[in-house]
Each structure stands twice: as structure tokens, then as C-alpha cells.
Symmetry: C2
Subunit: 202 residues, 2 copies
DNA sequence: AACAAATTTGCGTAGCACGCAAGTTTCTGG
DNA sequence: CCAGAAACTTGCGTGCTACGCAAATTTGTT
């Protein structure tokens, strides 16, 4: 990787993290773009070369990492059934911060809590969803524009992840993330069978 | 319904439609907030009392209508199985413009095509998703904060609708909307079984 | 070392969201 | 029908922001 690219990536990440840090400290509305730029030692104009809003900058650090879900998925053994592979790929994404990653929690809470960020959060999940769809299509060897399946599965998985994240954040008493993710994915993979109040007949 | 409320609603809809009309004519970036306000005969400041951006205004007309999905769902006969009721509720939402509603097509195409609007589009679908989750929870008689199921199903359905819409818009040759929706919903309700290349056993 | 390509930066501009404090319309109860 | 209250509209002012453009700087290539 060339120097240029490394520098660019570093700047991008630095800006994103600075944005997150300042926003968690003072609240998003009390952070100005200039300050984020200053924090990194870069001109305000440059900030806008990387991101077109502070909201985007805040979400970027998450998206960038999760965008690799495509590769993560393709790296799974080909023998694995599709749903299993996808589930494992998702879990790998979130296994870095197994549980006690305060920073990560803060960031997600920030994103979901602040209404100005929720929109950008959804937008960012959209990007991840595209990546995932590509990965699925590639693994299945089908054209994602022709066949509904990949996008459908990507949307479903992405939705499940989103819901699981939200639940994990707000649940009282606390629950663990990984099991919640697994449970959510298992349910959608089973077609969300309506929970029976009585025991189902065998 | 009191006069005040009627006027307010009328203003809101007028603003939203004016925004859509102007945006389809000239492209979003060549529409200024002042013009939208002028078109409706209202002060620019008032526009911002209703919407906090042109993007929001454009999506609003769609969201407002679809927000009724909660009532639509609750109005379905209680005897109907959940998935069936949800599917029918969704179809009802989109049956008004069965197929040839040019205005509607233009608006959706505008929203999905323009990158500035895609974010707002996702945001708006998020609102619909919440409504749907509430409806499902209410119909099931469970607490949506406690039980994952309603949000999970809402996210899944909402994702399927989104994908179906996208496919319907871009597919060549053209496909019909309703069958596409039904197919997408059927697939997610079945847990997206991996399509077999060979015939499945039994 | 020298040239080409990409990136940063400052400047200028147009636009926008929103708080606030009148002014205006609608609603309510007597 | 008529006050007084409540809701909504409007104009103004302000600070922030996104982005085009062109010059300066940095990085890559031969």
C-alpha cells in the first residue's frame, strides 16, 4: 500500500474518531466542523473532502470496518451452508468488541439516540447492506440485478442485525450481544414463525 | 376534524407535493426552499415549521400515507394468520397505484436515484418500520420493548418491500409491482431457503 | 532530478436551519 | 356573539455549512 493511500486512510480515520470523541463529550450539536479539523491538524476545507457532514464522519468509522463483511463472507469455507456462513461472517464483524468495548457502545448509543444521527445511521447500514448483497451474490454465483435473492437476504440480515443491536443497547437487564445476534438471525432464517402461545403440535 | 387541523394538513401536503413536482421538473439541486414555499403561497420560514429540509418534504408525502399501515394491519380480520395479514396490509398500501401511476413512479425513482434523497428515503422507511412494529406488537398482544419478534418482523417486511420496490423500478423488462411484492414477502416468510440448483428432495 | 498526478488549502459564495418575538388566525366557554 | 387563550404564521437575525475553483504543496514515477 502506497504512502499516499496510508496517509489518506489515516486522515480519514483520525477525522472520524475525532468526531466521535468530541460528540460523545459535548453532544453532537456542540461540535463544529472546524474543531474536528483542528483536532486532527487539518484544514476545515479538507474535512469536507473526506466527509460532507459531521454525521457522516461519525458513522464512517463503523461503516468502513463493516464494509469488509463482503470479504469476510467470501473467506468462509465454501462447504458451509449459506445461512451459516452469513451468520458467522456477521459474528466475526462483531467479535472484535466481544462485549466490554465502551467506546463502541458509546458510539452506537450516540448514533441511535441522536435523531440527527439516526438517519445517517440508516444510510450507513444501507452501504453495508449493498456490500453484503454483493458478497452473497458472488458466493452463489448469480447476478444480483437479475436475481432477487441476494438483496433480499442482505436486507433481512441487515435488518436483524439492526434490531439486535437496538435491543442489546436498550435491554434491561443487560443482555449479551453475540447471543442476541444469533437468536435474531436464527429467527429470520426460520421465516419468523409466529410464536405459539401453546406448544406447537410436534 | 377541526379547521385548524385540516388547514395544517393541507399545507403540509401542498408543500410536499410542490417539492416533488419541482424536483422532478428541474432536479433536486435546482430547487430552493423559497421556491417551494412561494409555490404554495406561504413564507419560507413556515416551510421550516413543517419540514427541516427539502429532502424530508419530498419523502413526507409517501411516509404519511404509509404510516397508516398500522391501522391497516389492525383492521385485518383477527382470524387471519399473522404473515397473511401483514402481506395483505402491505398490498393494500400499494394497491391504490396499482401499476400505471406515473407520478408515483417518478417520485420513487427520484428518491432512489438521487443520492441526496436515498438517505432520507431510508430514514422515512425507518418511520414506517416503527409503525409496522407497533401494529404487529399490538396485534400479537406483546410488549415490543420486551419481545424481539415484532421489530424483527417489521424490519424483515420493510426490507423485503424496499428490495421489491427497487427491483420493480429497475427491472428490464418491466415487471408488475404486486406480484413482486408478494414473491419477496413469500420468500422471507419462508426463511429465504437457499434456492436449490437441483430439485429439492421431496 | 524532473515531470506528472493527486491532495491540501484558502477564499468566496450561496444556502440553510432555527431561535425569537411580534402579528394573525382559530378555538373555547360563557 | 364575544372576549381571552391557544395555535400557527411571519420576518429578522445569526451562525454554520457545503462546495466550486485555482494556487500551492506533497507524493509517485522514470
Amino acid at each position: 500500500m502506497t504512502l499516499r493511500e496510508r496517509k489518506k486512510l489515516a486522515a480519514r480515520e483520525a477525522l472520524s474518531w475525532a468526531a466521535v470523541r468530541l460528540a460523545t463529550e459535548r453532544g453532537l450539536e456542540h461540535v463544529r466542523v472546524d474543531e474536528i479539523a483542528a483536532e486532527v491538524g487539518v484544514s476545515p476545507r479538507t474535512f469536507n473532502n473526506y466527509f460532507s457532514s459531521k454525521e457522516e464522519a461519525i458513522c464512517a468509522s463503523g461503516v468502513d470496518r463493516q464494509t469488509r463483511i463482503r470479504e469476510t463472507l467470501l473467506a468462509r469455507p465454501a462447504s458451509e451452508p449459506l445461512w451459516e456462513a452469513v451468520t458467522n461472517a456477521v459474528l466475526e464483524q462483531y467479535s472484535g468488541h466481544g462485549e466490554p468495548d465502551r467506546d463502541y457502545v458509546m458510539r452506537v448509543r450516540l448514533m441511535i439516540g441522536n435523531s440527527a444521527l439516526r438517519g445517517e445511521f440508516l444510510k450507513s447500514h444501507g452501504k453495508v447492506e449493498s456490500m453484503l448483497a454483493e458478497g452473497i451474490a458472488q458466493r452463489m454465483g448469480v447476478d444480483p440485478e437479475q436475481d432477487l435473492y441476494p438483496k433480499l437476504m442482505a436486507a433481512t440480515v441487515s435488518g436483524a442485525v439492526r434490531v439486535a443491536l437496538g435491543h442489546w443497547l436498550h435491554a434491561t437487564p443487560k443482555v449479551e450481544l453475540a447471543p442476541t445476534l444469533v437468536e435474531a438471525l436464527k429467527q429470520v432464517a426460520a421465516g419468523l414463525p409466529p410464536p405459539e402461545k401453546e406448544f406447537p403440535v410436534s
